[in-house]
Symmetry: C2
């Protein structure tokens, strides 16, 4: 693909440079998380295959059977060249010892596992390209001056409650911190807890169920442990660190967590900004000025996404300027798009997915930009004849 059209380099117009994106010669190793067994597999595979790079995917152990069924169906359909799609179910063994610099690794999962991959001796020695999309302490921010019951307030409450409960909060993009003007903390707590309490948890096979359990009892225990840690610096408004009573569900055998809302009075408490509780859990954090709000949001140390709700376009523009460098995506909602926006947690293929710092400093999707990871950018310096020949057979990425 053409990244940059020919540019002249010398007095002689015949000598120019063209920047091409050359597809990697190796394979793309995709390591996926349990929480998006289908989307996670295919969003990575699609971009890789479009770039012409064969896929070697490793699903999470808990979703390996589903991945196996899906991949078998696609291979059986014979729509892909032989060898283009490969699946490793089970442990990775010494996989990384076999990686070369022609290969790439795209990982979604925990910070700790990401560190292990990046620190692998062979991966380090060969400077293998590694893309990481890790857990982050995402935020939602309600603008200064927002009044309870205003359109921005209502849009904010609706989206925050939804993001806390979709997939029982087991999303890398889920909202963990809720920043609101100090003077309306009570109104926010009341409105959010009303929404959350009315979210029907139960058997996912029942039509009226809105939230299921977390993935395992170990995960449930980890979430309860996280709530206990947060509650050292915040009070519990609704939910909590005990298994909820749900009709027809045996709490000794299930792994439900009630939607849990906390509220802190210590906006700077480290635990609020540092701990990701991977369940339907978030904390209301009051702020006293716009500058404090932006500084507090940035305490996440780099996040996948922040949503900002407000009526004032100038405020939203300032939020983008102040928060842009520490986020991979910003959803800025004014009342004109309150009903039509695609949501805080929905990763659109047209938009960048990934965030700096803690979020892994990776980039996925984002339109054609997502193809870059599977290519080497190369400057070709040569005669205009050669460059025309090369450009003629290439498509522009822009």
């Amino acid at each position: 693909m053409i990244d940059q059209p020919p540019v002249r380099l010398a007095k002689d117009e015949k000598f120019q440079a063209l920047h091409l994106l050359a597809p990697r010669r190796g394979v793309a190793i995709h390591i996926n998380a349990f929480n998006f067994p289908s989307w996670g597999l295919w969003e990575k595979a699609a971009v890789s295959l479009l770039a012409g790079v064969p896929v070697f995917a490793k699903p999470a152990s808990s979703t390996a059977w589903l991945a196996h069924e899906m991949v078998r169906d696609v291979i059986d359909a014979k729509v892909l060249p032989e060898g283009a799609l490969n699946l490793l179910c089970g442990g990775a063994g010494n996989l990384f010892a076999h990686v070369t610099s022609d290969d790439v690794i795209a990982f979604t999962g925990s910070h700790d596992t990401a560190l292990k991959i990046r620190a692998d001796a062979n991966v380090m020695a060969r400077n293998v390209a590694v893309n990481v999309e890790a857990d982050s302490i995402n935020a939602v921010l309600l603008s200064p001056g927002a009044a309870a019951g205003s359109p921005s307030f209502d849009a904010f409450v609706k989206e925050t409650a939804r993001e806390m409960t979709v997939k029982a909060g087991q999303k890398c993009t889920a909202i963990r911190r809720i920043f609101v003007p100090a003077e309306i903390v009570s109104a926010v707590a009341e409105a959010l807890s009303a929404k959350l309490s009315s979210t029907k948890a139960g058997d996912p096979r029942q039509a009226e169920t809105r939230m299921g359990p977390v993935v395992s009892r170990a995960q449930q225990a980890a979430v309860f442990d996280g709530i206990a840690k947060l509650s050292g610096s915040a009070k519990i408004i609704c939910g909590g660190k005990d298994a909820p009573k749900i009709e027809g569900i045996d709490p000794a055998k299930s792994s439900f967590v009630a939607p849990t809302l906390l509220q802190t009075n210590d906006s700077n408490a480290a635990v609020i900004h540092d701990i990701e509780v991977f369940g339907p859990v978030a904390t209301i954090v009051p702020y006293r000025s716009e500058a404090e709000a932006f500084a507090l949001v940035r305490r996440g140390g780099g996040s996948l996404v922040v949503s900002v709700f407000g009526d004032d376009t100038e405020f939203l523009a300032r939020a983008v300027r102040e928060l842009g460098t520490s986020h991979g995506r910003i959803l800025a909602v004014d009342p004109s798009i309150a009903a039509s926006h695609t949501g805080h947690g929905i990763v659109m293929p047209q938009c960048n997915h990934g965030g700096p710092g803690r979020a892994g400093n990776g980039e996925e999707l984002g339109g054609l930009h997502g193809l870059r990871f599977y290519h080497q950018r190369v400057a070709v310096q040569g005669s205009t004849d050669l460059l025309s020949n090369l450009a003629g057979e290439s498509a522009p990425i822009h």
Copy 2:
């Protein structure tokens, strides 16, 4: 800056996404090599300052005084805001323990030092962006069928001899491997050694001197050691692992290395493709087919640059396709630009500098693309009113 103009995301045309490049909030730590004390400092600083990111530069110890003088002059000229340019002369101490994910690190130097930076516990934990430009085993390739004395042959000999001797071969881009059709190995050896032997080495202050010493006696010893290793798999055509006799130069106190050309008959010998001898030293490697030539060039495991010389545009285009993915830059010379091209080793600001794999998998310069490293790419999803507001104050990167 605008990376991608607004794109529609929903049925409602009012909700769209714009991709911006937000300048990093931290500082850019630049760690430079001894061999380009001026260019290396300023090529990094220029891009960083253009992006609005303050520079914290650490020169190599052997060139710290020069860096200090240059930086003082620039600060004294008061053309930069206070604090925009900072210099650390001496050891790095525990510098990396203070780095945050708002900072970036750009490093030029050895593979081993690059590994230490990338593996630093704090750098790893915070996913700090690190750009590496390391040593690579660059190549030059003369096309199949090239006849001794042809325009391509002559252009190839001239450029190869020049690249081996400029800065006494102490360039990360210097040619280390010379791939030629097996049937003209003798003609190449003869033509190159004639050029090299006539390169006048001596005191750099004398007008007729064409090549000076290497940087230190330790470096001279390392180069001689490298020549000894190469000569286990290749014969020495000219030069060698002893200090050359130069009129008026005391070999016991100086650090000269004669331009040294080797020739192997074992084109697959690992030492030829693995060892970088950082001096005026290169090895002629014969190939028997075009496919073998491309495979041998790729044995470098990722390089900054390869130059290809030939008359046939179709061959040059094939070389770009086959070698593009393992190089950051390809100089493809046909006779029409033999006199006007900017050279194998000259890094043009318009062109990508950096290479995959062994070369560090980094990217510098390359026109406006060089600014990307100093920015976070962020997707802003919002109303067309907000996006117009943001786009209005931003310049496009393309």
